[in-house]
Amino acid sequence: MVNWGNLISQMFNGLVLGMLLALISSGLTIIYGTLGVLNLAHGAMFMLGGYAGWLAFTYTHSFIAAVVVGSLFVMIVGIVMERVIIRSFYDRPHEDQILVTFGIGIVFVEAVRFAFGSLSKIVPPPEMLNGIVNLGFMFYPKYRLALLVIVAVALLVLYIVLYRTKLGMIVRAGIEDAGMVDALGINVHKVFMLVFGIGAMAAGFAGIVNAPVVAVSPDAGESILVQTFVVVVIGGVGSFPGAILGGLIAGEIISITSMFNPGYAYVMLFAAMTLVLVLRPYGLLGTAGRD
């Protein structure tokens, strides 16, 4: 028998996870859309955000500081990574780009393990968001509810940056035709660097705000990366709305399946991905273009 209270609370969990995946996937997809590089270190960015935030928290005991430091640190890592390594890979085959970002991801993970060990680190939620809240029809952890709002706001900010600012205009134009943007007097290399930074920051931000829910560990990024890939395949590569739709679908599938048997969560996720690949090979909101 289905326990309805349980189901609703799992659906809420799915929503939270889905929004989080949407945010991380948006980061991955705008990097791919603009620069044409699939960043396999994206999961590591998520993990780095958690660690940088945790470090900041242990020194300041301020959750806000943790979030700010976690996000900014990962943004800088992204910018440096683009500048030093990725830039020389734009002219190389996709396979080389995949290999190098995969290697960079491993270096990040192992460097963190080296510095902080394999044990997971806990970042507590802010005092006022501790405990659970009675929503009338169910009890739910306060912080998870807050997380829903935090991530929704982050997605909104990302949306505004992409669709309502000059930078966003450049990014959207750059996704279409970077060469023409360059010919109109805008240094696309700088834009690429910034896009990489913003995309990485989306993952890093997700990594730190998720830390009170799931403690951070060096391997935290790996399963996130896999889920992000499924999200992007379902939603369509390079599509921001696709990342959000795909994220929500994936989040719900994982949560609801986990209620019955967590072992099947990935099977169902994979089944959904297969279905999309058969019915709409370019993803639900993707267009035939880059491959």
């Binding site: 996709h94 995969f102 290697g103 399963s223 048997n261 072992g263 990935y266 996720l269 991905m273």
Partner: protein
């Protein structure tokens, strides 16, 4: 590249395998490490066929490695099945079947999508192994107690329970794996796989069903992975669950990239370096778990600086030591050398390879009222077009007239929005470009579409193979050279485009004009009934143009051809009838003389707005 001499590599491999257990310990390799290197090397043989030869970078190989290993280990432990080798073979078959099913899904897309899908696959299998199937796989405990192989020969019993005896057991299978892999990459299938890696679109256009070839490579890689997985359990006496982990796939990818993809031995070399460093950093330098950080850095540095891994780097060094690249620049497009062979008897024979076709009234291709619409843009509208057997037709028109769209419709690269195309009286509307080529309709491209990492000869062979073997055949164990009729056809095509002397040069070393000729040679090698040439003179210097026009005249004998080009002097010289397209329609058709003096054509070219 692999040498042509038979069995040299096989013999060297055998020698190396025999010597390794006695030499490597002096370099600090533990016997158990040497055995693991072999398992990874065998695992990698299949992966290299998939990645190095076919260009498909999969992060999902752990799924097949784990499947093969778990099936074999389950049979040998829980099920109590006694025959070790049979169990491993059954595991391999299971992995191959899983590979086939997964390949059907993953190969729906290419490039980064393929990589992402395979990452997801490996994770799915990991979770399935861990949870729903834990009764069979032991979940996170794995399956302990896998027996070592032992054969009762009647008069004596062969047990493989020491490191060294196990080494020879593994080395035997590795050797068999190498022999088989060498056969595969030297077979027609292997060559087509390389063609897919270099230029999938052209591989398709010369008539190969690349989807089925890719699936073949995927299954072969899965089978190798499955077998290696079985060996892993037998070697350790324990089938670990982490065989299924994404890390396993990642390690395989990294080892292959470090060793050098596309060499078959790259994964072995990579495993050697990887496992040695692991032992060294952990055991000698006591770096604990930091070894992976160090290896990660080594890997990134290698990918950044050595594009083709250690083996590739060594090959480059050797070439450098031999005094740089051999003088391969073409004798700077010497028009004399080109004109001359026309008198040579072999070429004279080659010029008339087909049954003598004379211009007849039989239509070869006929387009009836074809149109093509892209969104709001009508690129072609209601074109009627007919070319008869033996004719050489020119197609010209100002920029934006819709010439290339028209050509693409004729070769079935794009489907017309409306209308019908008949080839030899048969309706080919809606066919794929592969099917069209198999029917005898081929195009040479405006921008060279060559298999850039192969030699001139291999390029032509790939095209000829499609004609001789059909769109798909699984002759994985036959040598390319033994395909009947192949060498004659290839020699003919090479002679026709005057590249006989350059047959063994890699495409990357050709001069531009030579590449253009090879482009035409690729189309000729499939012996088309109708040859379409899309701007054969594009990008050529004036002297190269003269040469190429001569070449086109020489191959014209006995063929039906349609030529698009901007060089109108050339078209007027070549074609006996010209179709002028303008604004997506047929403007006029006529002899060169008629076209030259037609005011309507002048108008189309020089503009309509008079003041």
């Amino acid at each position: 590249m692999l040498t042509k001499r038979p069995f040299v590599i096989e013999a060297l491999t055998a020698l190396g395998l025999l010597a390794a257990p006695f030499l490597l310990p002096y370099l600090g390799f533990a016997p158990a490490t040497i055995n693991r290197i072999l398992v990874w090397g065998l695992f990698g043989l299949g992966f290299d066929i998939l990645f190095g030869y076919t260009g498909l970078l999969s992060f999902g190989q752990s799924a097949f490695f784990g499947t093969g290993g778990m099936v074999a280990a389950y049979l040998l432990t829980i099920a109590g099945f006694p025959h070790v080798v049979t169990a491993i073979v059954i595991g391999m078959i299971a992995a191959a079947i899983i590979g086939y099913l997964v390949g059907l899904i993953a190969l729906r897309r290419t490039g980064i999508y393929f990589a992402m899908i395979t990452v997801a696959i490996s994770e799915v299998f990991y979770f399935v192994e861990f949870n729903p199937l834990s009764d069979f796989t032991g979940g996170e405990n794995g399956l302990p107690g896998v027996p070592p192989p032992s054969f009762n020969l009647g008069f004596m019993k062969l047990d493989f329970n020491t490191d060294l005896s196990m080494y020879f057991f593994l080395a035997f299978w590795y050797f068999l794996g190498v022999v088989l892999a060498l056969r595969i990459v030297r077979s027609p299938v292997g060559l087509v796989l390389s063609a897919i890696r270099d230029n999938p679109l052209r591989a398709q256009a010369v008539g190969h069903d690349i989807q089925r070839y890719k699936l073949t490579a995927f299954v072969v890689a899965a089978a190798y992975a499955g077998f290696a997985g079985g060996l892993l359990g037998v070697m350790q006496g324990f089938m670990p669950p982490d065989a299924f982990m994404f890390d396993t796939s990642g390690q395989l990818v990294m080892q292959t990239a470090i060793g050098g993809p596309g060499t078959l031995f790259g994964p072995l070399v990579g495993a050697l370096i990887w496992l040695y460093l692991q032992d060294f950093l952990q055991g000698v330098l006591h770096l604990g778990s930091t070894w992976k950080l160090a290896l990660g850095i080594v890997f990134v540095v290698l990918v950044v600086f050595l594009k083709r891994g250690v083996i590739g780097g060594i090959v480059d060094l050797v070439q450098l030591a031999r005094g740089g690249k051999k003088a391969h620049e073409a004798p700077e497009s010497d028009p004399n050398a080109v004109a001359e062979p026309e008198t040579s008897p072999s070429l004279a024979a080659a010029v008339v390879p087909r049954s003598p076709v004379t211009t007849s009234d039989k239509p070869v291709i006929e387009a009836r009222q074809i149109s093509k619409r892209y969104g709001g843009l009508l690129a072609n509208s209601n074109i009627d077009f007919l070319v008869k057997e033996g004719e050489l037709r020119g197609v010209i028109g100002p920029n934006g007239a819709g010439k290339s769209t028209f050509f693409k419709m004729l070769t079935c690269e794009v489907q017309p929005t409306a209308g019908q195309i008949l080839f030899n009286g048969r309706d080919i509307t809606g066919q794929t470009v592969t099917q069209a080529c198999q029917l005898g309709l081929t195009k040479s491209y405006q921008i060279n579409q060559l298999f850039t990492r192969l030699t001139v000869r291999e390029n032509v062979v790939i095209s000829a193979l499609a004609k001789l073997r059909g769109p798909f055949r699984m002759d994985m164990l036959r040598a390319v050279e033994s395909v009947p009729g192949l060498s004659e056809r290839v020699d003919q095509a090479l002679a026709l485009v005057r590249l006989t002397e350059r047959a063994d040069a890699p495409v990357a070393e050709l001069a531009y004009g030579e590449k253009r000729r090879l482009e035409i040679g690729l189309a000729l090698a499939s012996d088309p009934r109708l040859l379409l040439l899309d701007e054969p003179l594009a990008g050529m210097s004036p002297s190269e143009r003269v040469e190429t026009v001569k070449l086109l005249k020489s191959i014209r004998e006995g063929r039906t051809m349609i030529v698009i080009d901007h060089d109108m002097d050339a078209i007027f010289e070549l074609a006996e009838k010209i179709t002028v397209l303008s604004e997506g329609k047929v403007l006029v058709e006529g002899t060169p003389e008629e076209i030259k003096n037609d005011p309507v054509v002048q108008e189309a070219y020089l503009g309509g707005v008079h003041e």
